[in-house]
């Protein structure tokens, strides 16, 4: 086939494209995914009964804020990675800042607390289910953003998948925080971070498999 023929074919009756199509696609995916995640939380887990009392505490805002910051940073990176030829405005190192803050808080807590309490601070009562619950609540956002990315054009499929999973994990963890009773920094620094890493690893693999175009 001649290139001119192909060009003729592609341009005949071409459909208009609305502005900011990529941003809208990803924004919608995130909104729908987060809404489903919240509904799942309310339907399956329920809000923690003392939500009102703890909602003013530093620990609660760290617990919500760190995953939400991960999600926000992840979204910024994904918006850039989903479109070809767009240089990143920030280095990838920025992605670990919220985790670093969490870890500093955890280490300070660890060092300033009575060693007899260490086991309690690290394992809490729910470590067995924490990772699984966060990964489960990350699923809606992970699936929705993945479908959006398949319609976009990431030139680094594995990295894009990993950061989309990081974004999904962030949303999953912050939604789970509305139910989860744990408040100790060391617990969050280990189990929440692992919970967010699971979707990231899964989606890096999925990116390798099916984000190529």
């Amino acid at each position: 086939m001649k290139t001119d023929e192909l060009i003729k074919m592609l341009s005949t009756n071409v459909e208009p494209v609305p502005p900011y199509a990529a941003e809208k696609l990803l924004g919608r995916a995130l909104a729908i995914g987060a809404a489903i995640s919240l509904i799942l939380l309310l339907a399956i887990y329920g809000l923690r009964p003392d939500l009102k009392e703890v909602s003013g505490t530093f620990a609660f805002w760290m617990k919500m804020g760190v995953p939400l910051a991960n999600a926000a940073l992840g979204l910024l990176f994904i918006m850039t990675l989903a479109r070809p030829g767009k240089p990143l405005k920030m280095g990838y190192g920025v992605l670990v800042i919220p985790i670093a803050v969490l870890w500093i808080w955890a280490i300070v807590t660890w060092l300033t607390s009575d060693p007899a309490l260490h086991a309690e601070l690290l394992w809490g009562n729910t470590w067995r289910v924490c990772i699984m619950n966060i990964a489960f609540l990350a699923l809606p956002v992970g699936a929705a953003t993945f479908m959006a990315l398949q319609n976009l054009a990431p030139t680094k499929p594995v990295l894009t998948g990993a950061i989309a999973g990081w974004l999904a994990g962030g949303v999953g963890a912050s939604v789970y925080a509305l139910h989860c009773p744990e408040m100790a920094a060391p617990f969050l620094a280990v189990w929440y971070v692992l919970g967010m890493l699971v979707p990231s690893a899964v989606m890096a693999y999925l990116g390798h498999r099916s984000l190529r175009w």
């Binding site: 086939m1 001649k2 290139t3 001119d4 192909l6 060009i7 003729k8 074919m9 592609l10 341009s11 005949t12 009756n13 071409v14 459909e15 208009p16 494209v17 609305p18 502005p19 900011y20 199509a21 990529a22 989903a82 479109r83 070809p84 030829g85 767009k86 976009l152 054009a153 030139t155 190529r212 175009w213």
Partner: protein
């Protein structure tokens, strides 16, 4: 810089649905892209036109990832580069499984084709599509009928034609890539 300005003007018209601007845009853009691919694939010149056409298909399929307020040439070259790397990766996998001598004769035969011709035939790929997609593309993209005319002719709805074109073009781009 002049190329950037001209292409960008054409592309933003194209994104608003002007087919003539889009036609001109693809023609103009294919020149530097061909040069780009030719420079990098000078050991396998017969593959250049194939890859250029695959790049043009990708530019078309992913045109909604270009944002009107951004530079256009980096976007174009990034797509060409992605397609080239993907092609080289596929080719090295293919080569590892095949007798290199066969490949050699294949290339010798292929080099007899005209330069602006690709060995891949979109027409043949089109025939393998489901009927609603094939007819939608045939009428609106090849015969140049309007969407409304194509709808009247086939008895399909206007939105069914649009969906058929959209899905069909995506399927063609995929087939193109998988046909090594």
């Amino acid at each position: 810089m002049m190329m950037e300005e001209e292409l960008r003007k054409l592309m933003s018209m194209a994104l608003d649905g002007h087919a003539d601007s889009y036609h001109l845009f693809l023609q103009r853009a294919s020149m530097p892209l061909r040069a780009y691919l030719r420079r990098r694939l000078n050991a396998i010149p017969d593959e250049v036109e194939d890859l250029l056409q695959e790049t043009l298909l990708a530019i078309h399929a992913k045109r909604h990832t270009y944002r009107r307020d951004e530079l256009l040439t980096p976007w174009l070259y990034a797509i060409a580069r992605y397609k080239m790397i993907d092609f080289l990766r596929r080719r090295s996998q293919h080569e590892a499984l095949n007798d290199p001598l066969d490949e050699e004769t294949e290339w010798l035969e292929a080099s007899e084709d005209a330069v602006s011709d690709s060995k891949k035939d979109l027409g043949k790929m089109l025939e393998t599509l489901p009927e609603n997609q094939r007819l939608s593309i045939q009428h609106t993209k090849l015969d140049g009928l309007s969407v409304a005319e194509a709808a009247a002719m086939t008895g399909m709805s206007v939105s069914a034609i649009k969906v058929g074109v959209h899905r069909g073009m995506k399927a063609l781009a995929k087939m193109w890539k998988e046909q090594a």
